[in-house]
Homo-oligomer: 341 residues x 4
């Protein structure tokens, strides 16, 4: 059965697998000290135009969020995030399990803005009993957001400025960063992110890899003994090469960006097709996640032929559902889907 | 340069990679709900002759230990382990980060025995202020141990009996389980482990996989919402298939056992060769880790031609070093090494 | 300067101090195994008409909340609470530091209702990826609430029924329970609480003691090794008698209830006085916390003569402030205050 | 029945209770912002001759240890302590519950020395995989130790020097500090401790107070938002005055030191008496805890007339038991005890 359920339904891009094959029997040291990891790091640093960047490869997004937030926050601090942020909702309490509160701000299409953050910080420090409350110690955003939307360069610059003013780090969850970078509406380049964020990650689990996220500290701010922290959180692979090789493939010959472009192209095709057939979007998402309002009867019929994600109830007759394209989506699959609707 | 540094220097066995290739573009659901994971679980259950076994695949050993120990222990409990146990020494505090003390017992060649455990439990409960101390709530052993040694069936049966008497789970860390199972000296079968342990894992990161451990709850004792606990600890792969496919390959056609046998055969060859040249062992290890006492001058010379692990100082002139064979070790490599010494 | 800042501005009721004096040099065992603690427990159990109640005395409210929530929840669970609940806002992240998320529900005058709880539970379990979210594992309410309001017997019964249906405990924070019990509007007796809640505490820090809360498990549901959990959280007093003696005094001769009555009487006097002078209340609180809307200029003047708590901004000219009466408030003090306004 | 079971069998010194009475109805602000707390802090700072000292009052020793260790350590660090240290053995896992490993060193009569600490640090950093192990991030000692012994000025100076060399804090648990300070054998003054330790506490629960420890940061090194950390650990008393008043009494007119002297005098009397009757000591303790080797038959007889603590088995016929004197012990009580033996 055809699936637009998510952007991790297939394995890895063939060039990624191929490099895994080619390098497979070379003996390398463990825990990320292998030569492929080093090469991949260099390629990414070049791409970021950020020589002082410190990079570690981790297996997944929740793990990365947990390690970053737990190691950067002081014990009395929490992380500010949109109430729709992945850390707020879908990580089974990983942040709290690490001892920290997620301090939620109401989202607008998945985003928070600089003034909300500033207000929160000001209100906190103005409160005579502020020490009875959790201190806001970091800002978490996702690019693209859980709603597929994007921060503009202006918005990101403003968020960065507030964080610098209050000396708290700005952290960007880039689980789908490639899909954001290649969106037509995007005006935030990788180099901007390296400038404006204190820490962020470039997601590959959803973009061409079997698993893997590249975590980047941009300001020589990687915590001391960070390898210990990764190990302590169960995130240190014995065969670190698994991640290094994959990122080496993805950051050679523009692969990461080219395959991200495919997801965007397929999403545009899909959106146009749905709109032509009269379907309405919940949000006019510029990235690879597309949200349509569909009649429930139609949905049931559709669900026998294609997989997608239920998002939320719209009204008694309609639901919002998500169709996700990816690096692996083909024109044929989109055409097949458009036939069905 | 030749390496006997550890048993995770190469990638994966070619049949594992091949199955990853073959299944790569099939669309599957995420988080371990894919069909390969299901097939792999069935194959393992058969092999264990334990239809009620509940199995989850996790990425690495520290992660597995942390998740098992944190979810099975009550907050006031700690885990009993040899002072040389991996959880006691080399996990960067992962168990304590999860809130639990490792209660160490003095080891004998990496092992603890039933009487030590019984004594600890009796002494604890006999203390009038036992509630001021951490309650022993689980026993952790590794098979083979960190010294390459093995629990016999008699020893394991006795440990199991004490645990049942005090109603605490017996947990076996099987990071190198295959190498233990195929050792000539071994008399503990997989089915025995499934009978005697409450929970254990079959390690594959060190035996043929890119990454992956198969965690087995043997008595319908997998904690509720265990998927949440995995997620909360950053251990839930979006592409759970990565683990499922690898275990499917390893548990088809006896692969896991055959390649484990190779490591044992190579270790025997290596040990015989060293002994013939007059080297002494620290421990007469029956598995894939071999520990030799070597003159420091010789070691320095050797270290330019081959990688190995420093284990500990023996005396002022000698060190103990470890040579590890693996599923990937060839006769040629062993011969080359024996030439050097 | 006169203070209505809170209900913990003075030391202890004189009868409490007196019993501390009288018993001071009697030698007793530590950690709550003293005879006064035992006597106090018996007196409270009688009052609750709940022979199976298990009672421990703890030092303060945040400590009590943290210990209860951490020991009763499984690691994958969070606690449902009003967004205005003390655990949600003013405990500096104590619940999260214990590893658990506070799952907030929008409050109505500080309260949540059974249908909100039921909806949350149903929605959670209906979600196909519910295991990616924190499981609701307990309901936390405060009586009176942080807004001084009270749950009626009907409301409490309904909450209790939902909790029983989903088999999660209902926990009542009774930091000011005496002031709730003696309110004219109250229809919930201590015996009802013992029936309807699974665990609750009777607060004394704010009602006559130097410090101390009596934590009650009502259904033989005190977790095993609970003394260890108290110790582990730094809550076990060497001189447990300090708490035992105070509760013995408070639960002899109806003292706890009589002095609670005083706070209520003084609050009524105060409210009537304010209203007669034309002040409006934010909430018509039936307990010892009274919230008035006051002109900012007037407030500044007032703040030089009397202490009170700023609550929140009302509009550009007005603020909401809280005046709290207590077991120690005198008619003279209220009269003096009413003179000032 | 007479008790030498411990040094917390009675309530508080009468002057402490008296000041609680006298100040009882004065209205003060909460959470340690009261005037008595301020006065007590000033008195202690004077006594320490350490104007930059930062002082907080906490309720008990385990709580203090947990808060200090959790806030000063980084997440990847553990605390070095004697294997007999209170944090290692009798705090029900409070340190591990805070996420940190206790790294034990073998004790000599309850003490560790500078060379052990230096060795541990050197060995740790020399290990090629040191980041897989818990980093030693603090040294914990107790003065007097759990065996009643004392660090000399020379020993303390050496420990301090190692800690400074490796830039890790030296923390002294002074649960019985007064009893150490007044010992005839002691050559470490309070001012030395303020110089040599980075953080320590002056215990009062066991020396004249109902409860209370004075935590001192000596180098302007109190962590930011420390009040939040106290609150988060359930250690912030609403009526902080309870602790402030008690320390104010104890540090007025030399009271803390005078009553500590009493315990030492009584311990000397007791020890001399035992020795005269032919009893042997396990350790020749110079402080208020005395450890005697006693025939088991005699012990059983004795246990019907006086309370003491079982310490450990000596041989099949003998046990080691502890008799503790305190601020409250009278010459009559000692005489009565000596009659019995």
């Amino acid at each position: 059965m055809l699936s637009f359920e998510n952007d991790y339904s297939e394995g890895a891009h063939e060039k990624v697998l191929q490099l895994l094959m080619e390098t497979n029997m070379v003996q390398e040291s463990g825990y990320g000290s292998d030569s492929y990891t080093q090469q991949a790091i260099e390629k990414i640093k070049e791409r970021l135009d950020c020589p002082e960047a410190e990079i570690k490869f981790l297996v997944g997004g929740t793990q990365t969020n947990q390690i970053v937030i737990t190691t950067l926050l002081k014990n009395y601090e929490g992380v500010l995030a949109a109430d729709t942020g992945h850390v707020s909702t879908h990580e089974a309490g990983a942040i709290e399990a690490g001892g920290h509160k997620v301090l939620t701000l109401p989202h607008t299409l998945g985003k928070i803005d600089a003034s909300q953050v500033k207000d929160y910080l000001e209100t906190y420090y103005a409160d005579p009993v502020y020490q009875h409350m959790v201190a806001p110690g970091m800002v978490y955003i996702s690019q693209p957001t859980e709603y597929g939307t994007l921060y503009s360069l202006e918005e990101l610059t403003a968020l960065s400025a507030v964080c610098r003013e209050y000396e708290i780090p700005l952290y960007m969850d880039g689980a789908r960063l490639g899909y954001g970078l290649m969106s037509k509406e995007n005006d935030v380049a990788l180099v901007d992110i390296a400038q404006l964020c204190d820490v962020f990650y470039i997601g590959a689990t959803k973009i061409g890899a079997l698993c893997g996220e590249a975590l980047v500290f941009t300001k020589k701010n990687m915590p001391k003994h960070f390898l210990s922290s990764i190990k302590q959180h169960g995130g240190l692979l014995a065969k670190g090469r698994l991640l290094g090789v994959q990122f080496l493939a993805l950051f050679s010959d523009n692969l990461y960006f080219d395959i991200s472009q495919n997801a965007i192209d397929m999403a545009e095709l899909l959106k146009t097709g749905f709109k032509e057939k009269g379907y309405k979007t919940l949000i006019d998402s510029p990235t690879n996640q597309q949200f349509f309002i569909i009649d429930n009867a139609k949905l049931e019929e559709l669900s026998e032929k294609v997989k997608f994600s239920f998002w939320e109830k719209y009204d008694d007759q309609h639901s919002v559902v998500r169709f996700a394209t990816s690096w692996a989506t083909t024109e044929e699959a989109v055409a097949e889907l458009l036939e069905m609707i």
